[in-house]
Symmetry: C2
Subunit: 435 residues, 2 copies
């Protein structure tokens, strides 16, 4: 048996309460898995949480006291944010403590600096809980698929956005309407920007991409597009064409460079990930040896996220007294191997597209649109054109294109939008086959 | 950097060719992940494999020479079977070598003995490739979900059986017909018993159950029922009722004991795993903290299975020179914790049932059946009764029951089968909600 391992937990919000409750409830099985006793020696939090009984624990109101506590082997950062959390983590590392965090924004923005500091001190930084809640996706990519050149990955990695899109599809509801319900249910924050604009997903995507491709974390290079423009009509037309709309984070290695993008995406309804509904998360990872694999589970919540934090505790505890080279590297690669690669701007990305436009209900319009697309080498793979409704003089025209460079498509759309017979901007949604 | 790690590979069949091809093709990324150079120092195989270029490798026809080779740090057993493979693995362990195997039958039948020998010598035995091919399911349960009391797991862990059931559903074909095609395609062996009778799935299930519950491997206690009796009609009726039939391996912890069973199972079509088709594998694992999670990917094939073997190489290489207590235990638990628990006989298992019977087309038959079920406290949750076809005097009667002890249901069925108005045996298929 290894000697007991002492953890100090900073924060007492949702994830901390889940983590503490799991550690207290499942201590015997956790100790049997870790090969040592895991002890919570201190909790640092400004206020108590009624969902977590800390009466048996040593609670301080000074979170930095946990980073300075000589009894603490592992500091668990669950306070969130990127300012105090960063200071706290760097202080813990400076004091020679291992760090576990659930903080995706912290890792996405400051991971490179934090990992460098940790490497200099010979300590671990673990962050399974930062991506996709309870799904052990970081371990899967970093260790389980270690044999593979990862070709691409695509994930539903924001539960709020997926809840909204699922409700829009199941009930034909509008975005704003479902968002209000999600806020009432507590799925979405009062300021939903992080979720619906894809910022939260971008944080998670850069982490997954670094693990997949051995690149530093580059949050500023992610292309991000939210789901606020998606209409119930788009959801319905997609379905008619055999597709579902999901808000995906996608990272792909191409000969020209790496794509890093978060946007609404049409995917074939037959794909397993197209059937991941509500607040659940899932990530598809395609390796050159293994082919496509998928990982599914709860992407948020106290105990699912706590499950990942405690999984990290067991991992870190096991090699706490081993030499650093016996531990899994932060990003899964020997630090010397991690190097910048070209990240493609969105203009240089090639995908297929769903296009929806309002066309005058008269002969020749489709022909004009088709001619412009053809001028740019874009072919129409599928088409829906409905009859005009009683009393209306415009009809919706929906097209699926072949794969084309984004900048080429953008130029074609500029010309289509300049047509007299096309009104309103052309709606465009990227498509992926995920094969 | 750690010093180079030398592997010796025994066998040169499908999985070995995949493993060698991955190691040769992806060596730089694999070395970067392992933190050391991985070298194939010897291959032991009775004959060559045209799918694998071994011209740069040191090949011997004597596989035991690999176990005796002092340069070999890790022996990779890919010869299959449970006799020579066992001798080979035990010899390698006796010589102080770490062992990696893809051999589910070997681990299921002799794992307890092999682990005990390995523990005594302070070496690792890794077997990710033994279950569900390229899916890192062993790592997920053993490490990723270490925080959890696992409540149950259920998997499609035999690709051949899933291919057959998928074809039966998609095309209304009969079992025997699809089996012949699967054999022609090379998915099924000439003797398909291992696949279609659930023996292969039972091997994998006991491994997963040991990892989930901390119990020794007990292959003899698995209840196994094949898919040979499933008819296209059953598939169709299940679909009418909103279910799909999958051949599942199920392990569940109940207050009375642990269930270990492989059998055809009706599951709600809305579940993600119900939509896993063809030769693909998937495992749902329900933890008390994380809730339901699912892992999906290729369950067989050269490179998918090789992906898991190489993942194990990276893991083993990383802690090769560390003290044994820093390594993940064979079954994920400290050996002192692994203890027998009661395994329930199938009679003591409680599930819901799909029942199909042929009833005389005359009044009162349903009432008699319902009365018998009611006598045993069994309620009818759904029912399909079709009109008799022209010229036929019997009608199919399909019932879904509530959850009931198997032995209680069996007694009720005995009485139903004794009715004059019911002909032929009553078909029964277990059901699971997998919630």
């Amino acid at each position: 048996m290894l000697k007991p391992v002492n953890v100090g937990i900073c924060g007492l919000g949702t994830v901390a309460s889940g983590t503490i409750n799991i550690l207290l409830r499942n201590h015997s099985i956790i100790n049997a898995r870790a090969g040592c006793e895991i002890r919570i020696v201190q909790v640092g939090a400004r206020r108590n949480n009624p969902k977590c009984d800390t009466s048996s624990l040593n609670v301080t109101r000074d979170i930095f006291a946990v980073a300075d506590n000589p009894d603490v082997d592992i500091l668990i950062e669950l306070i969130g944010g990127t300012t105090v959390a960063k200071d706290l983590v760097l202080k813990a590392i400076a004091n020679g403590k291992h760090v576990i965090t659930a903080n995706k924004a912290l890792i996405a923005h400051h991971g490179n600096e934090i990992f460098a500091a940790a490497k200099a001190k010979g300590v671990t930084v673990a962050f399974e809980a930062a991506v996709a809640g309870g799904i052990p996706i970081i371990k899967a990519i970093r260790e389980g698929l270690a044999a593979n050149q990862i070709e691409w990955l695509a994930g539903i990695i924001n539960g709020t956005g997926n809840f909204i899109l699922t409700e829009m599809r199941d009930k034909g509801r509008a975005f704003e309407d479902v968002l209000k319900e999600a806020q009432a249910l507590g799925y979405a924050e009062a300021d939903p920007t992080f979720d619906v604009e894809g910022i939260d997903a971008a944080h998670k995507l850069v982490i997954l991409a670094s693990l997949a491709f051995g690149i530093p974390l580059e949050i500023k290079k992610v292309f991000t597009e939210g789901i606020t423009r998606i209409t119930p009509e788009d959801v319905t037309y997609a379905e008619e064409l055999g597709y579902r709309i999901k808000h995906l984070g996608i990272a792909r290695r191409t000969e020209a460079g790496i794509e890093l993008r978060v946007h609404p995406t049409l995917i074939p309804e037959k794909r397993l990930i197209a059937n991941v509904d509500g607040v659940m998360n899932a990530v598809v990872v395609k390796g050159d040896a293994v082919g496509p694999t998928l990982y599914y589970g709860a992407g948020a919540g106290a105990e699912p996220t706590g499950s990942s934090v405690v999984g990290d505790i067991v991992d870190v505890a096991r090699t706490l007294t081993a030499e650093p080279e016996h531990r899994v590297p932060y990003l899964g690669f020997d630090a010397d191997f991690v190097a910048e690669q070209t990240i493609l701007p969105i203009d240089e990305v090639e995908t297929a597209y769903y296009l929806r436009m309002s066309a005058d209900d008269k002969p020749g319009v489709l022909s004009k649109v088709a001619t412009i697309l053809s001028d740019y080498g874009i072919s129409i793979e599928a088409l829906i054109q409905k009859e005009a409704r009683e009393g209306e003089s415009v009809v919706p025209l929906i097209l699926l294109t072949n794969r084309v460079l984004e900048k080429r498509l953008a130029t074609a759309i500029d010309r289509i939008e300049a047509l007299d017979s096309i009104s309103a901007p052309v709606m465009r949604i990227r498509m992926e086959s995920l094969k």
